[in-house]
């Protein structure tokens, strides 16, 4: 099966969710009251806006992830052809990883990995 499989599965997923939703809507018992529409918060009403500013740590890790994930993207092609190249590929990737490791150590040292 070629690349159209991806479309097939996409459609299948949509059909599954939409179909089940439809079915559920069809057979479920419906009742409405204002309390039901309140957000769930341990029985209390929500205080203040919900979409609040988040601590910067989350962004920091997102940024770190971005950097290291890209590095994975570079390693994958390397890993695939590694057998064909041997020594040169090994040395090059060693340099790459050493720099990367230094970067990680730097981030560590600077407290970027600390969750406060």
């Amino acid at each position: 099966m070629g690349s159209e499989a991806i479309i097939v599965f996409l459609i299948a997923g949509i059909v599954l969710v939409a179909g089940a939703n439809f079915l559920s809507n069809l057979i479920s018992h419906k009742s409405d009251n204002p309390q039901k529409r309140e957000p769930y918060e341990s029985g209390m009403t929500t205080i203040g806006p919900t979409w609040v500013q988040f601590k910067v740590g989350y962004y920091l890790f997102a940024i770190l992830f971005l950097i290291f994930d890209v590095e994975v993207a570079f390693l994958i092609p390397w890993a695939v052809v590694f057998k064909d190249f041997g020594a040169i590929a090994f040395i090059e990737v060693l340099i790459f990883l050493v720099i990367l490791g230094l970067g990680l150590m730097y981030a560590w040292k600077k407290g970027a990995l600390k969750w406060e």
Binding site: I99, L102, M105, Y106, K109
Partner: protein, 475 residues
């Protein structure tokens, strides 16, 4: 590929090693001895600068992605000298203002990374390497521009720089993709053979031009310049205006003269218009500036316009003169920024008005400033005159007399605002002048080198001969 051929990459390898050393130093040196990193970095970079002058051979590595020859090598040395002076000038600032916040080493790491990017950019043999170099040279500078994290202007400068650079490189990439579509390769050597003057190629070239025009801050890609210069730390402003611009001019020259030679009839007209616009807009906006950094920003835009005069010539004279001019420009602008830096560090004053009466309190600084401004304006016998004269000669050699005329009109305009600063320093008297202060050793050394450069480079003609002989490679 032999390992010995890596020797021709020694600029890159050495600089990378230095960067890593500084990084290791940052990780392992205890807090109370951190200030030694400044000395270490400057010392190492000094050695790097000197070793750069060892001879090299013409090579092409990684299947043509990386290439080097005498001219490229020389230009890397030029950049090295510029950065070395810059480091000397920023050493005091780093030690007094930045190391106390425990983040001085990032300055070196980022700066060296950026320089490394420029090496790769000017050594690139294909668009991939070029693009990587371009980005590697821009991104760290954006981080550096936002370096003073407690200063709102600095953050603004950073965000402006990175967003506009991202836009420019995106547009540029789109252009590269068009060139790739028409020529089927991203290697310069293949493109030279394949490129023809079709609509798509021309559009691609124009879009591609945007990325570099941004770095050189040519009109209409100059909007970021003044804001970033004003907000960023002075060292970074001067780095942007000198080193970054120089490298971009150089690679633009290589690309236009080699890869896009078949499209010369197109880019000639394009550069003609842009040169005129850049000179006029840069100069006219510079007239109304009050802040020294913004002032120098617009002045550097105008200077970029002058550089295009050498570009438009498209011959060996143009090539040699651009390099020569950039070299001179590095010294002149660094001298000007150095003085601004020194004064700003000591007193925090950055406005032209604050400079009134400077000569009577700090004669040496104001003399350096005057020389620098005269060199920028193109007044003999300082070096800037020779650079400008040769640029005009190069443009005139292809018959662009009208352009030369417009350029010299601009020289006159520019003289006016350079003289405004001179006037403030020498002619005016102030009730509250900048008090006398003595610079530290590094700053004095940095300024001294620039002054020697300004005074000697123009008069010393063998240098021009040397550059001229090297520049034959591209024509």
């Amino acid at each position: 590929m032999e390992l010995s051929s890596f020797l021709s990459m020694r600029h890159e390898i050495l600089l990378l090693a230095i960067t890593l050393l500084v990084l290791i130093g940052e990780i392992f040196i205890p807090e109370n001895k951190k200030h030694s990193i400044v000395h270490m970095a400057i010392f190492l970079f000094g050695i790097h600068t000197i070793t750069g002058f060892l001879p090299t051979v013409e090579t092409s590595l990684f299947g043509g992605m990386f290439r080097t020859n005498g001219m490229i090598h020389f230009f890397k040395n030029v950049l090295n000298i510029g950065v070395f002076i810059l480091l000397l000038q920023s050493a005091d600032w780093l030690q007094e203002k930045v190391m106390v916040q425990n983040k001085g080493t990032e300055f070196f790491i980022l700066l060296f990374s950026s320089l490394l990017g420029m090496y790769f950019m000017i050594s690139s043999g294909d668009f991939l390497m070029f693009y990587l170099g371009l980005e590697l040279s821009t991104l760290p500078v954006a981080a550096l521009a936002a370096y003073e994290t407690t200063n709102r202007k600095s953050s603004e400068a950073g965000i402006k720089l990175i967003l506009s650079s991202a836009l420019a490189s995106g547009v540029s990439l789109f252009g590269i993709s068009m060139l790739y579509a028409t020529s089927g390769s991203i290697y310069f050597n293949d493109i030279i053979e394949m490129i023809t003057s079709t609509d798509l190629t021309i559009l691609g070239m124009i879009l591609f031009f945007a990325g570099l025009a941004f770095k050189i801050s040519l009109v209409p890609f100059h909007f970021w310049t003044a804001d970033v210069y004003e907000g960023a730390p002075i060292s970074i402003a001067s780095y942007l205006s000198v080193i970054s611009k120089g490298a971009a001019v150089f690679i633009l020259m290589i690309l236009l003269f080699t890869v896009m030679k078949p499209l010369m009839h197109v880019w000639e007209n394009m550069i003609y218009v842009i040169a005129v616009l850049t000179m006029f807009i840069g100069n006219l906006f510079a007239l109304r500036q009050q802040n020294m950094k913004r002032f120098l920003a617009f002045s550097s835009i105008a200077q970029a316009g002058f550089i295009l005069l050498g570009l438009i010539a498209g011959n060996q004279l143009g090539t040699a003169t651009i390099v020569y001019f950039v070299l001179i420009y590095i010294f002149s602008n660094l001298a000007a920024f150095g003085v601004v830096q020194a004064i700003s560090l000591q007193t925090g004053k950055e406005n032209i008005k604050d400079y009134e009466g400077l000569y009577r309190t700090n004669p040496n600084l104001s003399l350096v400033m005057m020389l620098a401004l005269f060199s920028l304006a193109g007044i003999p016998p300082v070096a800037g005159f020779f650079g400008k004269f040769f640029l005009f000669t190069a443009a005139a050699s292809e018959g662009y007399y009208l352009l030369v005329f417009l350029a010299v009109v601009n020289v006159t305009i520019s003289l006016y605002y350079y003289l405004i600063v001179v006037r403030a320093m020498f002619l005016r008297k102030s009730d509250n002048p900048i008090p006398f202060f003595k610079n530290k050793v590094y700053m004095r050394l940095g300024l001294l080198i620039t002054v020697i450069g300004i005074l000697v480079l123009g008069l010393y003609s063998p240098l021009y001969d040397y550059i001229y002989n090297l520049s034959g490679i591209f024509n």
